[in-house]
Amino acid sequence: MMGLALDRRNLLLLPALLVLLLLFLGPMAYFFVASFFKVSLFNLVPTWNLGNYQKVAGEYGLPIAYTMGISALIALIATVLGYIVAHVIWRNPGRWGAFLLGATLLTLFGGYLVKIFAWKTILGREGIINNTLLALGLADQPVEILLYSPFAVVLVLVSYLLPFTILPLYGALRAIEPTTLDAARDLGASPARMLWDAILPRCIPAMLTAFSLSFLVSAGDYVTPRLVGGTRSLMMGNFIESQFGLRMNIPLGAAMTYSTMVTSLAIIIVVWLVLRAALRPK
């Protein structure tokens, strides 16, 4: 470490490290400390206690479980769909692949909120789907479940996260030499066996990246649940936001944040271990 610090070329890293320290690590440390404080009359009172965590454990167990469950579901769907699209792009390097890859990149140009409102237009009471169903006589009245439901949250987040899962998976697939696939077939592997033995194990880091990225974004999101999830949603992001906003209870908000973060990390580690155990070569 000393050698690294003294090397003059590493001075170039300094601005980036400074930004990381000031804008990320600093606030994280501050909130970590604050999570053990109290709040009284909207003021932070520095008395060390575990009250906030006890409160989270007592009152927010269900929302955390619900958030983890729905985020894991979203991340699983986004990773599996992302893998399928990446696989198709990879195996069809001609027109189809180029078209899909182009389409994937193009969706990154659209903003997050724009996409949410686009989905509202499609799913809403007066939306494209309901109007079509009514006009065709397939429904007597608008289908409410489309919007303001967990289904809508899953749908919108999966559609938003897909490009972020496709790209790392495509990158991992591109690094696989095609002769290793021919070799697997040559040695007796069926196409499914080849996928399992020669392709998927090479994608473990990318699968974990795709899963973690979409899982963490979903677990921390509070905009989508509010705009398309209705009031019945139990997402932690919304509870945390209200602690930092309306309720002005930074210590509780920080404790909720750290609890969610640690649980998320635990889930990601479990996913990693499962992936590794399942795909380890014998």
Binding site: T179, T180, G188, D197
Partner: protein
């Protein structure tokens, strides 16, 4: 009559109606060490991949051991391939790579472990079993690929330019090793190469291909000494050609000599290898000879290469061990009848 191990019937492949391999028939038998030799783009790799099941033929049939395998995918063919670039699984150790095929075929674990040990010993990689392929040299990776394919006990082992990526010394060592393995375990090997020396050194039977067609099939010696076409003559070694005329079963080379050769009356080419051309006192009575002039002399170390001109200006090459003749000298030149061959003009 015994059926041959492998039989190709009118096998052909076109890519978007551009033929890569024209319909060809070929047979070879158990124990054969077959080389498919040709320049790049001659269709030799396509032919090998059709044998392995990686390229579906446009027409024709492939029979192995009398069974039609034309429609079978690679995993259901009694063939195994050593790929160019090896195709080793980088996330598996050498042992796991070698054991892969039998393992997914659910071979008994103890038996398999013993077979892997034997195979590692055969390719001299015993101490590398637990390494990953990325930590091995090119020659070692090559041997892992060979071992992995041999573990399947293929009826036909296919090798796609197996030594192309290795440097000269290593290539010669690997050729020696492959020949030893073939001798020890038997079996039928088919390899693709563009190196005629490699083909002749290893193969018991050489198939020379050009532009998607088989030009000639024969032992290395046959294709070198009795090439059937001008292409084969020049691809397997250096060759001089003399334009000649065949009439009443006699071929005459203008300015040189005539000899007997049966065939229709037509213009032909007479070929002879530079190292079979004799100069000066070495042209004895049993040799067809004529007089010609030395116009150039090139010292190559072990040999001296002369360029010799006939009176009508046609020139050709002669290489000899001794180099006493000088530029401008006129000398007796010739070669014995068994060193020449006649091809269509």
């Amino acid at each position: 009559m015994k059926t041959p191990l492998v039989r190709l019937e009118a096998l052909a492949k076109s890519y978007a109606s551009v033929p890569a391999v024209h319909p060809l028939d070929l047979e070879f038998d158990t124990g054969d060490f077959l080389a498919i030799l040709g320049p790049s783009g001659c269709g030799k790799t396509t032919l090998l991949k059709m044998l392995g099941g990686f390229v579906p033929p446009t027409s024709g049939r492939i029979l192995i051991g009398g069974e039609d395998v034309t429609q079978l995918p690679p995993e259901r063919r009694p063939t195994n391939m050593v790929f160019q670039g090896y195709g080793l699984f980088p996330h598996m150790t050498v042992r796991q790579n070698i054991a892969y095929g039998p393992r997914i075929a659910r071979e008994d674990k103890n038996l398999l472990a013993r077979r892997v040990d034997d195979m590692l010993a055969l390719v001299r990689l015993t101490e590398f079993g637990d390494q990953y392929p990325g930590a091995l040299s090119g020659g070692q990776q090559q041997r892992v690929a060979l071992a992995r394919a041999l573990m399947m006990r293929p009826k036909v082992l296919l090798l796609d330019e197996p030594f192309a990526a290795l440097d000269l010394k290593l290539r010669q060592a690997m050729q020696e090793e492959l020949r030893t393995i073939h001798k020890n375990i038997g079996g039928t090997f088919v390899f693709v190469t563009h190196d005629q020396a490699e083909a002749m050194a290893l193969a018991s039977k050489v198939v020379v291909m050009s532009k998607g067609r088989v030009e000639q099939v024969g032992s290395g010696e046959e294709i070198y000494r009795r090439p059937k076409t001008r292409f084969v003559s020049q691809f397997v070694g250096e060759a001089n050609f003399f334009a000649a005329e065949r009439k009443d079963n006699r071929v005459s080379i203008p300015g040189a000599f005539t000899f007997e050769d049966h065939g229709p009356d037509c213009p032909v080419q007479v070929g002879v290898r530079p190292e079979r051309v004799l100069l000066g006192a070495r042209t004895k009575q049993s040799v067809q000879s004529f007089n010609a002039r030395i116009i150039d002399r090139l010292f190559l170390g072990a040999q001296v290469q002369y360029r010799v001109a006939l009176p009508d200006g046609v020139t050709f090459l002669a290489t000899t061990a001794e180099g006493t003749l000088q530029i401008g000298e006129t000398t007796s030149v010739g070669w014995s009848a068994e060193d020449q061959w006649v091809v269509q003009a």
